[in-house]
Symmetry: C2
Subunit: 355 residues, 2 copies
């Protein structure tokens, strides 16, 4: 299980609709009105997307409050990350983190240096001294699967360290909007004209559009040009292009989603922490990492699958071993269903395990 | 002008709707019923595409009459070509051909060897002796922009030469369905279990869906697995996935489109060849390469733009110089418009050129 969301693989093991706690998507669904926008855009299918994505970049630059020349777009966040990886020689990652960072680096024949997080899943600043000129440091912010955001002061410290070493800092902020509004990296790094830094976000998680494949990023104008040269032409299709010209304008949806997730995350954190036999890590975003104190992830996965829920086993993440799972924050009904199953699982685990 | 279809760049130079002769798309538009399929698929936008594209591959394997384990899918033909390029050390291309072959090779740091076509745009077999173990030979079949398909016997000869040298033959057949039905490469190479050969096609041109980004390919099961490891996850979005489960079943549309293009190509070839001042090359597909005997491509481009038509200047193609243009075969009304403009252009060129 390299990624979550692969429900098709498990569907034949449950008679009914599976609830997907393995991918972390806004439970409110995409902004209203999107379907009509897409229907209006069917006429664009017979033309290539604008190879320069002019209107899409304008929409994103308005949303991010940056210049459109700072904006990158791609087929999900992962395509943009890939293009940054291609442009470097060494990739420095923290572990555990999103598996594609290392995977793409290996595919492109880049050297990978792993820095394990400290026990509290904070970055070990002392170990950042490995960064050399031209290195790409990729940090999840918040990080997946740990769910923690880098504290503002620490982010500035890390940036100064990377800049001093003449490296490049790439922040994967695919889950940015779910986080408490304590700071916005784009606002911070705008003052530096995004020198030696790139920030990647996506429509995937917050706008509940994993199927449409729309990622975007913000970096210096010079770096944006350089990265675009590595990208495949037309990688964002015309429907994703049209969606990106629409969704970022729905301020009401954005506010409502933030409040909803904040509330449900706190509810889940509070309730999960009452359950014995698990260790619940704090989260700043819409998923929660859980350590199973007495069981392996495969066991929990199978139990929940029998009850119609797909969890994310975390043994494919480096450093986590086979006793961590990750759950998405969903709507109240499903969150209650998850909690009930956890309560049952915990006390019944010995009888119920069928292997 | 690295690619055609960039109408947005030229729109402010013409007051009205531009007719795009620079991209080669089936003028009949996509199969009927596709819009309803897409509307039904909006519900899939809130989930990731199937990371293994199981149903899509099944649909393609039925269409191609091969095993689904032979099938590759990607974000347009170009993403699949890119993944083959990544897996090799040296890339051998013929010139002139689609610019992305060399571009992707350079981006991935691969050595590029160029073999110019002979004067008749046939492959110079003597020069294929450069192929060494592990080399990737990419051939457009039919080739872009020359419009010619490799003759069946010659294709087998080339394949045997590549196999003997332990190289790999990649056929870019993005325009396959437009060609006369003299042979099907997939049928030919199926007998070899696609050993050392890959065939790339796409929904882009024939199914008139450049906006949706759906390419596919056929190779040995072993190579398919190897190439997939290089690909980005989820690069085909859920709507393109759904389209690909639908369009290949419309046999009536497929037959009708083939007949239509065959007919219009012949009409355009016949009529263009009567015009003085140009040399019209033969074509097996839905675009025609034209040599301007007394003018540069920029001149013709500007003239046609003033008349609401966008041609493809070919000076960005290697070996062609600045006196070739390429035109798409469109519907009769637009083809007549093109012919009329050519007749006017030819006799009036000295007066009308405004630079």
């Amino acid at each position: 299980m390299e990624h979550g969301a692969d429900l098709l693989t498990y569907q034949d093991r449950y008679d009914g609709e599976l609830i997907d706690f393995s991918s972390n998507i806004n439970p409110l669904g995409p902004p209203e009105g999107l379907e009509n926008v897409l229907i209006d855009s069917f006429k664009t299918l017979i033309t290539y997307p604008d190879i320069k994505y002019r209107k899409l970049k304008e929409s994103i630059s308005n949303y991010l409050a940056c210049h459109k020349e700072n904006v990158l777009v791609g087929n999900g966040a992962v395509e943009i990350i890939d293009s940054f990886v291609m442009a470097t020689k060494r990739v420095i990652i923290t572990t555990p983190s999103f598996s594609e960072y290392e995977k793409r680096a290996v595919i492109h024949g880049k050297e990978v240096i792993r820095i394990p997080y400290k026990e509290d899943f904070c970055i070990d600043l002392d170990r950042l001294d490995v960064i050399r000129k031209g290195d790409l440091l990729i940090l999840g912010n918040p990080n997946n699967p740990t769910g923690l955001r880098i504290e503002k002061g620490e982010l500035k410290t890390i940036y100064e360290m990377v800049k001093k070493a003449k490296g490049f800092l790439l922040l994967d902020e695919a889950f940015f909007e779910f986080c408490p509004e304590d700071y916005d990296s784009i606002e911070i790094f705008k003052e530096y004209n995004f020198e030696s830094v790139g920030i990647i976000r996506a429509a995937t998680k917050f706008f509940a559009l994993p199927g449409i494949r729309l990622g975007y990023g913000c970096t210096s104008m010079e770096t944006a040009k350089k990265i675009e040269r590595n990208q495949l032409p037309w990688s964002v299709n015309t429907l994703a292009d049209a969606a990106g010209q629409f969704i970022f304008n729905d301020k009401e949806y954005i506010e409502k989603s933030k409040l909803y997730i904040n509330n449900e995350r706190q509810f889940l954190l509070d309730e999960l922490s009452k359950i014995e036999g698990i260790n619940v890590y704090n989260s700043h975003t819409n998923y929660i990492l859980i350590k199973l104190l007495e069981e392996v992830d495969e066991h929990a996965f199978n139990y929940f699958l029998q009850h119609g829920m797909v969890l994310r086993k975390c043994s494919s993440f480096l450093e986590l071993g086979n006793n961590h799972i990750r759950v998405a924050v969903k709507d109240r009904k499903n969150n209650l269903r998850l909690l009930n199953a956890f309560r049952e699982y915990n006390c019944k685990k010995d009888e119920s395990y069928k292997g």
